[in-house]
Amino acid sequence: MARKKLKQQLIVIGNGMAGIGCLEQILRHDHNFEVTVFGDETHVNYNRILLSSVLAGEKPVDDITLNPLAWYLEHQITLRLGIRINAIDPVMRTITGDDGSVTSYDKLLIATGSKPFIPRIEGVEKDGVCAWRTLGDTQWILNRTRPGMRAVVIGGGLLGLEAARGLQVRGCDVTVVHLRDRLMERQLDSIGGRYLRTKIEALGVKVLLDKSTAAILGNGHATGVRLSCGTELPADMVIVAAGISPNADLGKQAGLQVNRGIIVNDYLETSNPDIYAVGECTEHRGVCHGLVAPLLAQGKVLAATITSNRGATFEGAIPAAKLKIMGVDVFSAGSTEEGPGIETVKYEDESQGVYKRLFLDGGRLVGAILVGDINDSSRYSEWLRTGADLTAKRRTLLFPDPIADNGDAAAMLSDSDTVCGCLGVSKGQIIEAIHEKGVCTMAQLKESTRASTGCGSCGNMCMDILRAVAPNFEEETKKVLCKCVPFPQEQIKEMIRTQRMKSVQEVLDIYGNGLGCEVCKPALSYLVDVVNCGDHDEDRSTRFINDRVHANIQNDGTFSVIPRMRGGITSPNELRKIADVADKYNVPMVKVTGSQRIDLLGVKKEDLPKVWADLGMPSGQAYAKGVRMVKTCVGSTFCRFGTQDSIATGVELERRLENLFTPHKTKMAVVGCPRNCAEATVKDIGLVGQEGSWQVVVGGAAGKSVRKADLLITVSTTEEALAAAEVFFQYYRESANYLERTYDFVERHGIEKIRRDTVYAQDAVKEALLDRLKKSKNLSQDAWLERDNPINSTQFVQIQPMEQPVIPLNPSYLRTHVSAAND
C-alpha cells in the first residue's frame, strides 16, 4: 500500500494513436507511473487511418484495433472509456469528467487530437448530415448507406475522397463538392489533381470543383444541398469532410498557451510544467501536424521528457502522405509550391495515368508529387530527409536503375534508413529484431517492432527484409484467390456480404483489376451466389462453359447429358425416353455412370434444349460444381439385410439438395446397412443405416483422393439424419474455399470443429444455416428449364451470319468455280 502511494499519477486524456503511441514509448522507459487513460470514444485504441478501409469494407472493425483490452490490462493501465474531460484545474491538479468524476494527477498528458471543421452552412445540424472522424461516425454511415442512395461529400481533400470512395463502393451515387479548383490541393498541383479527378470520375463519382455549399435542404432530415451558385443537388446523406482543427479547448481552459493548437516546445512541454501535450491538438513551431508519422515521433520525444530522460527533441517533420485513393496511388511530400528558385522535374503519361513531379531547391529535393506510380517514394523520402545534393543525379532523378533482384531494394537501404515512416522503425531495428528476438514472420515483426502497423504501406519492404535476413522466414499463410482479386476467399465473402455486392463484375471493379480471369471468375460466381443465398445477378460470361449451357463439354466440343435419376431409381418409361432420344439425336454413346445414372455422350450444343425437352427429366448437374447425386442401395425395400429405407431416404435427400451449387462437386450416398453397398463411407456426405439409427458421415472420397469419411453424428430418426446432412451441407457451402472438396475441407478444419459448428451448435446457429439453405433452395431451379427461357438469345443457338462472303471461303468451292470459269 505504502509503495503504491509513491507512484506518480499519470493521466492521459485521449485514447487515440498519438496518446497511446506516446504511452507505449513511456512504458519502454523506466517509469514510476500509475497510468489512467480517458477516452471519449467507446473503443480501445484503433488505427484511425484505416477507417477508410472499414468504410470501404476491406477490413472488419476488429482488424484495425491497435491495442486490445488485454494490452491495457497487461500494463495495469486504468482505462475509462466514453468519458469526456470537461475541465482541468491546474492549481489543484485535478480533472473533471462529464460523468462528474474528479481525478487527481501528478502529470497530465493531453492528447485530445482534433475535431472536424464544420463550415458555417445553413442547416448543417440536420439529421442525415455527418462529419466523418471516428469509428462511431463510420458505423453511423455504414448503418445508413444503401445501394442507390444519393450522397454528397463536402470537401475534396484526403478525407473527403476517402469518404466518397467508401460510399461509392457501397453502391451510393456520390457527388464530391469542393471549394477549391483542384482535388487534394494541399498535396497535389493542378496536373496531379486533374489526373486524380479523371480517375475518380471514371469510377462514377461526380466531382464539382470551385463550388461552395450554401445550405443543407430538407425539413429536419437532409434531402439535398444548395450550392452558392444556386444549383441544388438531391442527397439522402451529406458527409462533411472540410478539414480538421486541433482540439485545444481544454488547454485554453487550463490557462495554457494556445494558438491554433496547444503550444509545445521541442520537448513537447506546454507552458505548465506538469502538463504535456502530444499529437494533433498541439502546435509546434507554428505547425499543427495532422499525419501519423510526426505524431508518433512527438510521442517518442515526450516519453523521454516525461520519464526524466529529457534530451531528445522534436524538430518538426516534412509532411508526407502516401495513400491509395480509389485505386490511384498518390504520394506527396515536402513543399509542393512553386516559387522563386524552385526548379521542377516532371514526367507525365496521360494514358497510363502516371504523373511525377519533383521540386528542387539548389540541387536538393524539397518536395515530390507522384500519382499513379509511387514505387520510388521511399527514395524521394530519403532524399527529402537527408537533404542530399542531387546535382550529379540530375538526369536520372525520375528513372531509377532497374532493380534486378527482389532483395536489392532492401539491400540498398542503410541500417539507419527508415522503413516504417509511421512508427519510425529503421532497417537496423528490424534486423535487430530478427536476430535478437527470432522474428521470422510479418505478424511477429509487427508485434515486436510495430513496423507496418500504421498506414501499412511499408509492408512489402518489411517482407523483403524478412525474406532476405530471417533464417527461418515464413511466408504468411493467407492464400489469396487470384492476382486479379488479391484477397483470401474468406475476406472476399466478407466484402460481398458487407458491401451487398451481387455480381462478379462489381467485385472485380471495386476490389480487383476489373478484368478477372478463368480462375477467379468462376470462383467469384460461386461466392456471390452463396453469400446472397442465390439472390445475385447471374452473369454467364463469368461461368465455365459447362455452367453456361448446363452440360459437360467433351474433348471434341460436344456435350454429355446426364438427367437426374434420384437415388439411382428409374422406370421403364424413362428408359424408353432415353432410348428414343439416343436414336433421334444419333447420340454416339450411352453409358451407365458410376453414380447410378445414364450418360448420353456426344450431344451437339444446339441440340441440348431439344434433348432435355424430349427427355422431360431434370438436370443431373453432372457438369457442375454442385449437387451430383445420392447413390442408394436397395435397403429395407427389397434387401433381406436392409435395416433402413435407404431408397426413400436417398431420394428425399437428393430432392432437398438438388439444383444447388457447392464449392466443388458433392456426391452423396445412403445405405441401408453397414455392408455399405452404395459406398456411403467414401462419399462427401453419407448416411449409413443400422438397426434403429443412422450414422451421418462426411468428407469421404474415392476419386483422385481416397479417404474414409469421418463420423459426424449418430441419430435415431431419418429426419434427424437428413437435417444433420443439410446442416453440414450448408456449412460446407459457406465455409469451404471454392474448389475445395469436403475431404480437404474436413481435414483442414478437423471434424471436431465441424461438429461444434454444425450438429453440436446452438439451435439458433443450426436454424440460421437451415434458413439460408432454404432461401437458396427456394431461388434455385432445374437448370434445364432454360430450354424454354434461355438466358440470352444465343445461349444454345449457333449464330447464322447475315451474309456470306461473295467469294466463299470454302477452298474446294473456290477451286471448282475458278476452274469452271477457266473452262
Partner: protein
C-alpha cells in the same frame, strides 16, 4: 480487295462472351468485349477446342478444354509459351449495331494453302 461481311446484331453476343459463326467452311469466334469486338479462328491450336466457349480475361480467351490462353488481338498463344497462334480477323460494329468481319482478299488463298 476485301469486304466487310455482316454477321449478327451485337446484342446476340453477350458482353465478355464469344460466339461462333461459320463463314464458308471457316469457323470464326467473335468476342464482345467492353470496348470492342474481336474475331479469331474458333479452334484452339492445341487440340481444336472451341475458343468461343472460353472465359475471357481482358483481351484474351482461355480455351475450355485445356486452358490454353489466346491473345484475341494478335491471335498468339500466350500460355503455354509456344510459338503458335490462330488467325485474327478485323471486326467492327457498324452504325446499325451489326457486327461485321472483314474478309481480306488474301484470306482465301491462306485457307486454300
Amino acid at each position: 480487295m476485301s469486304t466487310w461481311i455482316k454477321i449478327t446484331p451485337l446484342n446476340n453476343i453477350p458482353l465478355r462472351e464469344g460466339r461462333c459463326v461459320t463463314l464458308g467452311r471457316k469457323e470464326i469466334a467473335v468476342f464482345h468485349l467492353p470496348e470492342k469486338v474481336l474475331a479469331i479462328d474458333n479452334r484452339c491450336p492445341h487440340s481444336q477446342g472451341p475458343l468461343c466457349d472460353g472465359i475471357t480475361t481482358g483481351t484474351h480467351v482461355v480455351c475450355p478444354l485445356h486452358g490454353w490462353k489466346i491473345d484475341l488481338e494478335t491471335g498468339k498463344v500466350a500460355r503455354p509459351d509456344v510459338p503458335v497462334g490462330v488467325n485474327t480477323y478485323p471486326c467492327r460494329v457498324n452504325s446499325d449495331g451489326i457486327v461485321e468481319i472483314k474478309v481480306a482478299a488474301g484470306m482465301e488463298a491462306e485457307v486454300a494453302a
